[in-house]
């Protein structure tokens, strides 16, 4: 069976439920407006089962209705990350069992950029979007160098700490400063990384980076706006414990 409709309590009934708010006062007109709204979303019949005024100027509705939508499962595409998203526990376990030591991450914002919001969102325990930062992972050691670190200093420190990965965060984009600074770090890694030791991964993050431009920047991976600590941790585990072996 490759064609499906929504399922309420009988195959093919197409029943769905939704809730929404309209910026109008509660009353008979609001109820009718909600029914029309649902109908325009394609629900027919649309049953406004609950309406409640929120303050004097809003009304909240719950609607049940029949959706005519039929989807062909053969048309469904799933975009897959090349790595699995792991929980912190799984990340710790993978590092412990495969790397057999703590994974070391050195992070900084480079050059003239003083914005540490993104870096701290990924590294600080406080984290981002309800997820704790990398510091909270028992098996990850985080060295957060903060803002306005020089590329050479960053690489020197990464070598001293035995970094597995270097995180560079850039917010300021004036005259393409963000691209320039990342290339500087990539060049410094090439030039000054102690020979005979595996070069650390270079991870780049910031709101204006193109995830497809990693190779062009000399980086291993670019993370776009909205990236969470777990995505970064999962990527690190994938690259350092699985892909490289």
């Amino acid at each position: 069976m490759s064609h499906v409709r929504a399922y309420g309590d009988t195959t093919g009934d197409g029943m769905v439920q939704l809730s929404f708010t309209l910026p109008i006062p509660a009353g008979p007109k609001a109820d009718a407006a909600a029914a029309l709204f649902a109908k325009k979303m394609g629900l027919d019949p649309a049953l406004v089962v609950h309406a409640k005024g929120v303050g004097d100027t809003f009304t909240f509705f719950v609607v049940y209705g029949r959706s005519p939508v039929i989807i062909d499962l053969d048309e469904v595409m799933v975009v897959e990350r090349e790595f699995a998203l792991l929980t912190p526990k799984e990340v710790n376990l993978e590092i412990r069992s495969r790397l057999r030591r703590r994974l070391v991450v050195v992070g900084a914002t480079v050059g003239t950029d003083a914005h540490t919001v993104g870096l701290d969102a990924i590294l600080n325990v406080k984290g981002f979007a309800g997820e704790k930062g990398l510091e909270s992972y028992r098996e990850i050691r985080v060295v957060n160098l903060g803002a306005q670190v020089g590329a050479d200093d960053l690489v020197r420190r990464a070598a001293a700490e035995g970094a597995d990965a270097v995180l560079v965060s850039q917010v300021v984009t004036q005259r393409d400063a963000h691209l320039h600074h990342v290339r500087e770090v990539a060049d410094a890694l090439d030039a000054h990384w102690p020979p005979g030791r595996p070069r650390p991964l270079l991870l780049v993050g910031g709101p204006r980076f193109d995830p497809a431009a990693a190779a062009d920047l000399g980086a291993d991976r670019v993370f776009a706006k909205g990236t969470t600590p777990a995505e970064v941790a999962s990527y690190l585990v994938h690259e350092l414990t699985l892909a490289r072996r």
């Binding site: 809730s19 929404f20 708010t21 409640k52 929120v54 303050g55 809003f58 909240f60 540490t116 919001v117 701290d120 969102a121 600080n124 325990v125 406080k126 981002f128 979007a129 309800g130 704790k132 510091e135 909270s136 028992r138 957060n144 903060g146």
Partner: protein, 523 residues
């Protein structure tokens, strides 16, 4: 008090021992705070003395002036003497004019002595008294409004707004108050805690929150005063003192009549990697200001449970509360000002989860009988199933009512998924109101079986807390923090942000605010 007491049959001797150990662990830290100052403490003094505003780059004049003084004569004697000496001996209209000239390199500061020092001290005292007088007047105004408009019954319902734009926050806060919120908290922009200055003016752009500024404080308090009059009950306003500018934000909160402030003794260290010494020194001064302003502090123990397991780490919450209490009382706060924090974060898949939550919540209630406890809703186990989340929030509300928590942060079923919709907030308030009204008076029926599961679990957590406190009192609090005792991070005493802003006080250190706030200690 001897023997066993309360519904849990806690051993009064064990409770006394826990407090003695907290006292012992806190003592060296208090000593450090009494003998050091920070750039933010000194800037707070200048704010009390009336210096406002910022330069064209948005850096406040208090920063410019403090930096200029530090460059010339250091801060070991405090900022007040050199500043007021320069003001008296030079040709400057006021502190702002002096700060502008100093920032341009046009002033050379000195440490006055003899009669010059006496005059500078008198001028600094006079100016600072002006700021303290405003704080005192605001406290009287609050008391008057509470009498005239009415103080809502407990538990107080605490709601958050966070649009990033103060002019969006205001109508949302007013709508929330009309819908039943007793306390409005304006979440700060991500990362403000790491700024070593307080932004200026009304702000309309923030990351996941709105900047804490004096003007934003003023605008929101004025709007809520209007709504309080309309509703016939006083709506309280909360913001965040934590971060690198605790002392200054505490002063601004006092000047603009905020009612509560997030102020935790270790949050900045553990979760924001702010230097431990800087945090404790800043914290003490900020709490002295809160004490004077009649502000209720909220501590942040709920955060530990979002990082660590809520069952395994239950005792770290108690230990942190006892430390927060000790530091708060030492700074002059009273029991009614201690909004000690904790949270409903045990995994709902765990058998008897609710009984465990009741045990923890009742333990906190009985350990701190006179503190207005702040109870935080589930966040870690809100999965995206908003229907289950709504149920879990109802159980949280029930636990709060049963164990007489006094400040209840309203749980959102969309926690961690999206910024709450208007309707999410309304549904959440309906949830709280239902539980509060349906279970009114149920506390008289809540009598855990003596020596039953709840009583035993509570005593076990208290026992583990005493063990941990013994270790901390023995090793030292700084060492415990460096060992990763709280949260899961190690924070060495010389690590983290802001250590360069810490200065040891020298003989002759003069701080006109401390002279007023702790007259017994003024030499």
């Amino acid at each position: 008090m001897t023997g066993r007491s309360g519904l849990l049959g806690l051993d009064a001797r064990v409770v006394r021992r826990a407090r003695r150990l907290a006292d012992k662990a806190a003592a060296p830290v208090v000593e450090l705070a009494r003998t050091h100052t920070t750039v933010s403490v000194e800037r707070a003094v200048l704010r009390l003395a009336g210096l406002q505003g910022a330069d064209a780059e948005g850096i406040p004049w208090v920063n410019r002036l403090t930096d200029a003084v530090r460059a010339d004569v250091g801060l070991e004697q405090g900022v007040a003497l050199p500043v007021f000496d320069a003001l008296l001996t030079g040709d400057h209209a006021d502190l702002a004019a002096l700060a502008q000239k100093a920032a341009a390199g046009g002033v050379t500061f000195r440490l006055p002595s003899g009669r010059a020092a006496t005059s500078a001290r008198a001028a600094a005292r006079r100016a600072t008294r002006g700021g303290i007088a405003t704080i005192d007047r605001n406290r009287r105004d609050r008391d008057r409004l509470l009498r005239r408009l009415g103080d809502p019954p407990k538990p107080w319902i605490y709601l958050i707004v966070a649009t990033g734009d103060i002019h969006e926050d205001i109508p949302q806060a007013q709508a929330a108050a009309r819908a039943g919120a007793d306390i409005i908290a304006v979440i700060r922009s991500t990362g403000q805690s790491l700024l070593d200055y307080v932004p200026e003016g009304a702000t309309r752009e923030g990351f996941a929150g709105t900047y804490a500024t004096q003007e934003n404080f003023r605008l929101m308090r004025a709007a809520l005063d209007e709504t309080s009059r309309e509703l016939g009950r006083y709506v309280r306003l909360t913001n965040y003192a934590s971060g690198l500018c605790m002392p200054e934000i505490a002063v601004l909160a006092g000047l603009e009549r905020l009612d509560m402030m997030l102020n935790d003794c270790m949050y900045g260290i553990i979760f924001r990697d702010i230097n431990p010494q800087r945090t404790f020194i800043d914290q003490r001064f900020s709490r002295q200001i809160h004490a004077r302003a009649g502000i209720v502090i909220n501590t942040g123990e709920d955060n530990y449970l979002t990082t660590a397991d809520a069952v395994d780490a239950a005792h770290t919450v108690i230990v942190s509360q006892l430390l927060n209490e000790r530091f708060a009382l030492e700074a002059g706060l009273e029991d009614w000002q201690l909004g000690l924090g904790h949270a409903f974060e045990i995994n709902p898949a765990l058998p008897e989860q609710f009984r465990l939550e009741l045990a923890h919540a009742q333990l906190v209630r009985e350990l701190f009988p006179n503190a207005p406890l702040k109870y935080m809703p589930p966040t870690k186990h809100m999965t995206g199933n908003v229907f289950f989340g709504y149920l879990l929030d109802a159980f949280f509300n029930l636990a709060g009512v049963l164990t007489k928590q006094e400040i209840i942060l309203v749980g959102m079923m969309t926690e961690g998924i999206v910024t709450p919709f208007l309707s999410d907030r309304d549904l959440a308030l309906e949830n709280v109101r239902y539980v509060r009204d349906a279970c009114a008076g149920l506390t008289e029926d809540f009598v855990p079986t003596p020596d039953g599961f709840i009583a035993q679990r509570a005593r076990q957590v208290l026992g583990e807390s005493v063990e941990l406190l013994e270790r901390i009192a023995d090793e030292g609090l700084f060492e415990a923090i460096a060992d990763g005792t709280f949260g899961v991070t190690r924070r060495p005493v010389d690590g983290g942000r802001g250590l360069d802003g810490v200065v040891r006080r020298e003989d002759g250190y003069y701080n006109p605010a401390l002279e007023i706030l702790e007259p017994e200690a003024a030499g």
